[in-house]
């Protein structure tokens, strides 16, 4: 490559340098446009959610916030997207005029068919993610990873990577892979960001009231501080 470059300079005296540089710039520009603008468009297919879901409306109607529908089961597992049976509790029949609700009741409730929701945050099969560890133990907000989805009035378009089959949310909206907020990317490095750097203290003092008041036999016994810090020796923490 460098040889050609040098060569271009060398022959510039002959007066052919102009077109050569021009073509170089043309090539450069074309590839930049292709790589940054066209390629991402080609890479992702756009899919609409089966039902346009209004989070705001639902959050207002329920009592316990996100956990009203996205709850923990007794065995510690997380329910994720609600199943039809759960929705039916309120939507046995259409409660209003909203065409989305009508569609939901007619197509799904009436036929007992589960809604094939497209999950923005769906991680690959090899990933084990413990909601309990993050929400219950580390007391993180849903928004840290899921962003302001609870404030959405419409379901946004689900973009699927044509090669990997993943949601675009994993790589992040920004094709360069850069992010501003914690919830904008969900690749392994983003998990690692927290897991390798933060040494979160759960010493009795640092915990919020009333937890700090509760006896914590384990920590007392061992003098250990709970850590997020999982260095390179912890593949199984997040993989299965």
């Amino acid at each position: 490559m460098s040889t050609q470059d040098d060569k271009a300079k060398e022959v510039s005296a002959d007066g052919v340098a102009g077109p050569i540089i021009l073509f170089f710039i043309l090539g450069l520009a074309a590839s930049l446009v292709f790589g940054w603008i066209i390629f991402p468009k080609l890479l992702y297919s756009q899919k609409k959610q089966p039902i346009d879901f209004n989070h705001v409306l639902h959050v207002e109607a329920v009592e316990e916030g996100c956990e009203s529908c996205h709850f923990f089961r007794e065995d510690g597992s997380f329910s994720g997207i609600p199943k039809l049976a759960q929705c039916v509790d309120c939507h046995e029949d259409a409660q209003g005029e909203d065409p989305n609700e009508v569609k939901f009741v007619e197509e799904y409730v009436a036929n007992g068919r589960e809604v094939p929701w497209l999950v923005y945050a769906r991680q690959p099969d090899c990933v084990f993610f413990s909601h309990a560890a993050h929400v219950k133990k580390a007391e993180m907000d849903c928004g840290t990873c899921h962003g302001h989805i609870g404030e959405s009035e419409h379901s946004r378009v689900y973009e699927e990577n044509r090669i990997t089959g993943y949601s675009r949310d994993i790589w992040g909206k920004n094709i360069s892979g850069l992010k501003k907020h914690t919830w904008e990317r969900m690749k392994m490095d983003d998990c690692a960001e927290c897991h390798t750097t933060k040494e979160i203290k759960t010493d009795v003092e640092t915990l919020p009231w009333p937890i700090n008041w509760l006896p914590r036999p384990y920590e007392k016994q061992t003098g250990n501080k709970a850590r997020v810090k999982t260095v390179k020796e912890a593949c199984f923490v997040c993989h299965k």
């Binding site: 007794e74 510690g76 413990s130 219950k136 003098g223 199984f236 299965k240």
Partner: protein, 273 residues
């Protein structure tokens, strides 16, 4: 100081397998296959390419009829600690697809990280690591019984026993929900230990004196986890792999079959100094 504190806290999950009780029935093998989505193919009689995270070996005392004796020896992954976590297989993996977790003592294997160089298989003297030579194929309906807790492996990667780590994860989830961070002994048990009809497999935290495995094996952590119980031995103890699977047998020849000795060697002297 710090090291000591860390040591106290770290768990070291391990097994004690009572070879007197093991009947060689193979339930552990199947319990493992069913738990961990282990694939199968039409012909599995070539044991050189048959994936069995848990494999039951048949040992013989080498004597002629009618003095012949046999003993079965189930062999999961030994989850070697080596020296300070340098398990034979872990340190050789070029892509960090396997690691030694100091908090649980479990050697992991990340299938999606593994690119199939098989160096770890060469490194493991126990043949506990298996390669997916073939695409795993389940008969049409059979995919229904696959467990979501363990991801099915793709062709071209290495897999091995994980001490059913997903069961640890699920148990921890429950504990977190209940505001605990410590598991009871019976909350986390491997599939093989649970299934063994003879009750020959004991699983638990070797570092916890209250756990049965500790009481049976009496591991001496100052000397690479060497068993304190004279009837207990480990496979290839002399290699220094520091495995976490202990075997128990009342028969001398079985205990000797666990390791290599050169003729007329003073066994006791050689590695119990």
């Amino acid at each position: 100081m710090k090291e000591e504190g860390k040591h106290k806290k770290a768990k070291k999950y391990g097994m004690v397998i009572n070879l007197d009780e093991c009947t060689g029935c193979g339930a552990c093998m199947v319990a493992c296959m069913a738990e961990n989505n282990v694939p199968f193919k039409e012909d599995e009689s070539n044991k050189l390419d048959s994936i069995a995270w848990m494999r039951v070996y048949k040992l013989t005392n080498g004597k002629p009829y009618p003095e012949a004796e046999i003993c079965y020896l189930p062999r999961p992954c030994m989850h070697c600690e080596g020296e300070h976590g340098h398990a034979p297989c872990v340190s050789v993996c070029p892509a960090t697809a396997t690691d030694y977790n100091h908090e649980t003592g479990i050697v992991s294997q990340i299938y999606t990280r593994c690119f199939g160089c098989r160096y770890c298989m060469v490194a493991c003297p126990y043949h506990a690591r298996y390669f997916n030579w073939w695409d795993p194929v389940w008969p049409e309906e059979s995919t229904k019984y696959l467990s979501p807790n363990v991801s099915p492996r793709m062709r071209g990667v290495v897999e091995k026993c994980s001490f059913c780590f997903h069961r640890y994860q699920l148990a921890m989830d429950k504990a977190y929900l209940e505001g605990r961070t410590v598991l009871e002994e019976d909350e986390y048990q491997t599939s093989c230990a649970q299934a063994c009809p003879a009750g020959a497999i004991t699983f638990g935290d070797l570092n916890n004196p209250e756990h049965k495995v500790h009481q049976l094996a009496k591991p001496d952590n100052k000397h690479g986890g060497r068993p304190g119980n004279p009837n207990v031995f480990r496979l290839l103890e002399r290699l220094g792999t520091n495995p976490k699977v202990y075997y128990m047998s009342s028969r001398e020849w079985v205990r000797q079959a666990g390791d290599n000795y050169i003729n007329n060697e003073d066994l006791a002297k050689n590695y119990r100094h």
